[in-house]
Symmetry: none
Subunit: 215 residues, 4 copies
DNA sequence: GATGAATGAGGCTTCATTCAT
DNA sequence: AATGAATGAAGCCTCATTCAT
């Protein structure tokens, strides 16, 4: 099973795609990610996918529907679970071994993260312009995962492992650091040679203990 | 002198703009920011600016030149200085009063930041697609400001005020937190009711001491 | 036997249609009549008929062939006879009872006329654009029925029951009134509440004696 | 001043058309009339008009707007007046000389009617499909001219010159004959050699006295 | 400097039709 | 006989840009 089939399976599972349809999705992901949704023409997608332009519209009523069909399932079925799992590991880390977290976060997720990177780029680009996308994210990530996350925070606060601060502010700061790392690592400077294990360790260190030296 | 004139002066100073040209720039900023560069048509800009379609091309050879004329000066003349100044204050904070930093950061910059927000949005959107823009930023911000920033970090490390960690990692973590706050505050959730003073305080607290409770 | 089967039998008799083919014809009649031939797509027809797009082209080589297969039989096998019969009754009326004519014209024909209305609309719409249709009509109605009609007129003129006027002009005036009534009744204002018996009576009165009062 | 300028002036007066726009309108009238609105492509219109396809859309937002811009003014400014005038003459004819009516109806109107024929064809074709067009006609012709017409009829009925019959039925029968003549003459058989004076005389004779011979 | 009509390439989408299953 | 995915030409329309005024 090829890499792309794997992605297809992960994101779009159970749907019966024709071979051409898969090609269209792959081409669209590549081009939307590289040139942006608005600057990618359907004729380019068709050419890259090796299909007639009309074929795209047999499967997707509009160009926008094609975009959404790529972007929505990822949000629905992957972002939530991944994020929630990974965040759990940050907390649990105080008890468990650091290596568990690192292995889990980096090794387990890295492959899929890199594979999903183009779609993530598309999502980040289009959030400001696609209201449906924004509301879908708020609904799936915001309301489910975020509340779950807030509850975790409260529990650890009660256990005395997190400082006193409104949970929403704590959440913002933790998420900022989590996403900031991924953003720097995979989007801003993907070509820089990262020592992933070490850098993840440092990110967590920063979240938990800050950058100021204790005297 | 109006608000917009003030912005014009700040960003585009010394250039003698005609009234029409100012209107074009203002309209372009609004529309690029709201709908994205690629999805904004020059005719829309002309209509919103109240000028004829041809007038835009009297001042700017192409639509892209209009984009660059908006986005480049901001980078050249504002982003660098602002960021460098503000970062200095984070470090100096260990000696000075927190209030100094807050006042400086929030009160002094808030007005101009909000005013520049649309242009910043445009820049963030277009970085991935405009190679010139990316290289311009690297040149003006990256190479000048970032090195300056790295030097500052080293100094404070030597003074024992920052933990031992490669300066580039430290930089990444600090900048992540700085920008993460601004991004959450002004781009992600501008409509949420923020207590700016408090939230800035918390951001700095997190950077310096982390979120884990010391026992 | 359903209403539609009845129509099918009347217009298309002896042809052995599959269930799907009947559905296609019915859907095509509805849509052509409602939106016009050129503005109706084969895929709409397929959807409304509940068949696959390809099925239409299994029975009809082209969209135009579908149109013709609907429109031609009606002309060949119904329009001529009906018109000739009805016109005979107008003439015979001077001797017979008015009621005979009314009963014949209205009660006998009304049901089938209403049922054929959609196809008649299609024919009227497409006459100017389909040369084959026009020549088919001239051939079947024009040359056969019209000459028959002219002969009738001449006979009644010789009997002194019609004024002296070239038979073609007489024909034009009589047909104008006949069709004008049907057109007003069923095409222009089908929703107005018509007293059909009375209005038919008036139409014939107008044809035979005019609208001016004799002193 | 050319023939077409004359039409332009009659139908679209006071509007400032560019030369290209006139060409577009002329080409559109020709093609819509000849092939039907739905079967005429904007690229054909552009080619026939000798302009770029984009030019059409500079003047008319949509193809439909082009249709309406051709068809609406004719209805608003010509059909009403012409019809009302001509109908008056039918009534007045009993007192005045027949020649007056004939001269007025045929000689005065013939030139403009022939010139407007293509547009009238377009209107007749599109009435069933363009709701706006239908309501525009009802508003401008129906409510204004028709009521005026009904009042005329009542007056002549009171004077004893028209038979007792509901005015709306009388109206239908008279209009049927009027339009029936024009329709036969200019739309159905424009190429037949018509003796217009005589045929108009016969039409009016038919309306007033019918086709049956008085003994 | 400013206009806005004109352009023509290209965008998204629809269409009638074909063909492997 | 029936399907429906696939096609590519064509349709309507938008766009950045040019140019005569």
């Amino acid at each position: 099973m090829s890499d792309n089939d794997l992605m297809m399976e992960h994101i779009f599972d159970k749907e019966n795609f024709t071979e051409k349809q898969k090609k269209i999705i792959e081409a669209a992901i590549d081009l939307f990610s590289e040139k942006g949704y608005a600057s990618t023409s359907t004729s380019e997608i068709a050419k890259k996918a090796g299909v007639a332009e009309g074929t795209i519209f047999r499967h997707y009523k509009t160009k926008k529907e094609l975009l959404m069909s790529i972007v929505m399932p990822l949000i629905t079925r992957l972002v939530g679970p991944i994020v929630v799992n990974d965040l759990n590991k940050v907390f649990d880390r105080q008890y468990d071994h650091v290596e568990d977290f690192l292995t889990a976060l980096i090794e387990n997720r890295k492959a899929i993260l890199i594979k999903l990177l183009p779609i993530i780029k598309i999502i980040l680009q289009e959030i400001p312009f696609q209201a449906e996308l924004k509301s879908h994210i708020i609904e799936h990530f915001g309301e489910k995962a975020f509340n779950l996350f807030l509850n975790k925070i409260k529990i650890y606060q009660e256990k005395g492992q997190l400082i006193d601060m409104p949970p929403t502010s704590l959440a913002r700061l933790m998420l900022t650091n989590m996403f900031g790392y991924l953003f720097s690592r995979y989007i801003l400077f993907p070509n820089y040679e990262w020592d992933d294990e070490l850098e993840t360790e440092r990110t967590i260190q920063s979240i938990m203990h800050g950058l100021g030296k204790k005297e």
